[in-house]
Symmetry: D2
Subunit: 330 residues, 4 copies
């Protein structure tokens, strides 16, 4: 199943080199102003070809609003957003059939779907689908109004200066990963559900839906495992729940505590590296040298911040709706 | 909502100092042999009072099978397991009403539920409910048969020798956290769903349902963010998908790749530390010194491995059922 | 899966002759006053042994509130209600193993669960489980406040005088069915969702979960199929949507229209009739005469009104919550 | 929420006079052969303009397969099917803004969505969306292989000769309703779940999602309420569960029993009748005469059989998948 959310429900579909990718978003309240132009800024942040280290593939990324919007406002009915795939060079990918790319889903998808999967460019497993997530995130952000979500790349290739990290990748002709940090403020107290739908659970669920994410930590995260309780606990200072420190990253018992929500995700290096690799060749039935052709990012992590914002917005908007903090008609 | 799973569905209920905690487990195939004794070993691993650093509270932890089992076998109908709370000293917790414990859910639960929550010992937010998760995990493990799940504490209080870590905590009279690592072998290729229900997404979702977990990483996790693509990619070596290395932790594109599944979680130090702390007093409306009374673990992380095994088993059994790898009648 | 509802979620479990039956109810707002005594009136209406034509089995039907209630109020956490089965005479049912009772689930359950089902008294398929539905309905009704749900038996054994219908059954020594009509007033406009979650869809879904229900119709129902459009359409008369007639039963486009909601269900005659029947004998492998032993209702339809009220209340409370017409804290 | 199904999951979207209507279908196994031409026959059966009594609106109804199909086979990824709305005359519908049409969703949708709904031609509530259901049904039927679903109109305008019923409608210049009967054979024993997901529950849920359906009955349905138990019970005759009679319509205890599944739905007369009606005028704030303009069916029931087949196929395919009777790769 390719869907997520309780009251704000996202269904994602499409393939990298098929006709289109897109989302169906259910539960958006009626009366939200929505234009194509609302999507531009975030889609631009995600798009390749801008920053050093990202792919030159020029996707136009125009969101086609096929349903759920009327006279510039949402109607309350499901919103379908389609992105047509116009800039496809499938011949680049023929090699994949016999040579599953290391680090990619090629091999596992072949096994799972018995060879019927669309193998071109990763097909349904492609990072291309994150364009749809970003579009859904734009709508979710609009629903969140004053709640402010900001994610940024704080480390690339092990270096906390991003430009230096990229320079190292370009010099080494190898792909790199990075760390993205996300902060959210102006959150009310009590978002999230006890146990299975904790704020951490929901954000982590969606974060690991993004290709290349291999870790997530909230507040002090893995560092907290080395601390004493007396160091880690955040003393509450007033009736609004403001804490003196924020080791917990704004969450207690799985619920937002009104302080800044902070988490970080680890992005692995782009699987498609210009370096020569080894992989098993299905036809020759042996391991052989292999290099990935086509257009690829040296540092996919550069694209991740806006996607992390999108999934965070989707989770938080859903939880806000569960708490009746977003009305059914705007 | 306190439930999780698609075909194997777990609903959790209860409060630390109420009458009972328990689970309702739906979707278990008919014909699985199930006795009370099946639960003993794992419940014992979770139970306090055994190892240094765990609470002396003596819970008997007897699973009462109220439905779904007949003549020693599962019937296919929902299984209700109840654990009665017999060993309750509620007077220990009266203080909580006015003095929300730092690091606990006391303050946020009060806000979320308008003061109607059962505040005794954390109520529905208590780690006590993990006894029900462990019981569910026992059933899930039985369904997984030859798939072997093993979790262990690999670091306590920042030290990879657990006894030393505990000694440090006892000496400092302060609580500590730890790192739990989980490994699973004999997994088939292709468990997990593209995007929203990746293996990482589902395991992370449930892992963060466990109180005190603040981070999770798969394979090389956060370290992978510092690697080059050519270092991180795991070369496929044969038709079964065996890889030369296992930086990915057994997952590609969100699906199991047939190699060992490996992940680690970060457990924060127990919030209830013997140390004197500061917290806001609701009645006096000021910050004041505060110390937690009652029976508490110095290192809650000691109890976590068997719980991590349980949630891993629940996720994997559900995915195995989705792939029709567990029959409807055993 | 044995669960239903989006924001107010009911999970049902148990067997007729097992230890207990019960429900887990998730999503009930915090702060609702709830005592055991709240359940008495509706449980009494459902109970056998009172009216002519119902079974003399004396179930005490005491709802045990195991979780989610504290100091006489709901806490916002899942509510578990257990009914212990104290009055069991399993020996009555041994015959069922070899002789599946006509009209019952015995045969199909045997096939579906490979013989592992609890066959005693219908096991998990027993009407006994409706005691749990009624209990859930009591809570849902409390949430609905001024919305008034009233169901009654309007026909028994084909006669619209119920006493006469029962007299005919007793005379014939045969079981009978009946028609139950349900009316709901003070509903707001707009409950229900377009297409898949229309009010009719949700009520019908739950109505057919009740054993013995074989038909449902809203408003004029099957009669409407014989009318002209100009006869059937209800003219709207004022800004509040009051209609001159109510052929539609208070629903347009799947949504409540503010007029009285009316529907009827058909209850088949109790499958367990005192009359001699034919059935296939698993052991002798031939059709043979057969009569049902044990305690049974001549007219199960007598018990249905309060169950229909319960399922209606569950659906409407859920829809009211979706429309944010029931607050999260009461 | 506009979605339905557990393992085969349908999400519907679109508006009558918007850009498109369509569905997203999740869970379809990989390897199913699928072409545009597969949809022709069923779409043709649903289409207007063919039979007397149906609307002359000429929709081309071409299913655009936007995702999930590759090289003429399903891939296992979500299938998006889009139907563009090419033949729109919106000016016909401007009247609706001030004059809610009796029997339609106009009034309730205005209230539910605060006036933001797409009001043209019923918008998201239009019968136009059933084109998407039919398309989903085509795929579900292919999955069901030898299971044969056949629905037909057995009564129109109260007459069991359909041509006579239509002639009466045309003569009276008024719309009529009808009764559709559906039969399914070659079903395995045991499809359906106890209680909430009985076969009747699921079929009824989807049947009432179809506009204009006001009643449903299984087997003898409402007639069974007038029978004795000894008349209604179907005697089992052999080890395969064949019954001598089929009053139960092929269902016991909510599960298929291997005999023919039979049910009937009541279709109300088309709300848009050529007859002059009364309705409340929002602008003048008074009741006034009113006649519906535009292209409408005199007997919408003519289109219903293929839609009923579609929803039946969707339910049964889902249940077959739950029973692992349809493999994950075809």
């Amino acid at each position: 199943m390719n869907e997520f959310g309780r009251l704000l429900r996202t269904t994602i579909f499409g393939e990298s080199h098929g006709e289109a990718v897109g989302i169906c978003l259910q539960g958006v309240p009626a009366g939200l102003s929505l234009q194509s132009s609302d999507f531009e800024a975030d889609l631009e942040r995600r798009k390749g070809g801008i920053q050093k280290g990202t792919t030159p593939r020029k996707e136009e990324d125009i969101p086609l609003l096929k349903s759920g919007v009327f006279n510039g406002k949402t109607t309350g009915a499901p919103i379908l957003i389609l992105f047509e795939n116009n800039n496809i060079r499938s011949t680049d990918y023929d090699q994949q059939r016999s040579f599953p790319r290391p680090g990619h889903a090629d091999f596992v998808a072949e096994k799972k779907y018995g060879g019927f999967q669309d193998y071109r460019g990763g097909g349904h497993f492609s990072g291309r689908l994150t364009v749809a997530l970003v579009a859904a995130g734009v709508i979710a952000k609009k629903l969140l109004q004053k709640i402010n979500i900001h994610a940024s790349l704080i480390e690339a290739g092990g270096i906390n200066n991003i430009s230096e990290g990229l320079a190292r990748a370009i010099e080494a002709k190898d792909s790199i990963g990075g760390i993205v940090e996300c902060k959210v403020d102006h959150l009310p107290i009590g978002l999230g559900e006890p146990f299975f739908d904790s704020v951490e659970s929901l954000i982590a669920h969606l974060a690991f839906a993004i290709p290349a994410i291999k870790g997530i930590e909230f507040g002090d995260g893995f560092s907290s495992a080395k601390m004493f309780g007396s160091e880690h606990n955040d003393a509450i200072e007033n009736a609004q729940g403001k804490t003196k420190t924020n080791h917990a990253g704004g969450i207690n018992g799985g619920l937002t505590n009104g302080n800044e929500l902070i988490f970080r995700v680890a992005v692995k290096p782009t699987s498609s590296t210009p370096q020569m690799q080894q992989s098993w060749n299905k036809e020759t039935q042996e391991v052989a040298p292999f290099s990935v052709k086509g257009r690829h990012d040296l540092c996919i992590a550069l694209r991740v911040p806006v996607i992390i914002e999108a999934i965070t917005a989707l989770v938080l908007a859903d939880l806000m709706m569960l708490e009746q903090r977003i009305p059914r008609i705007l």
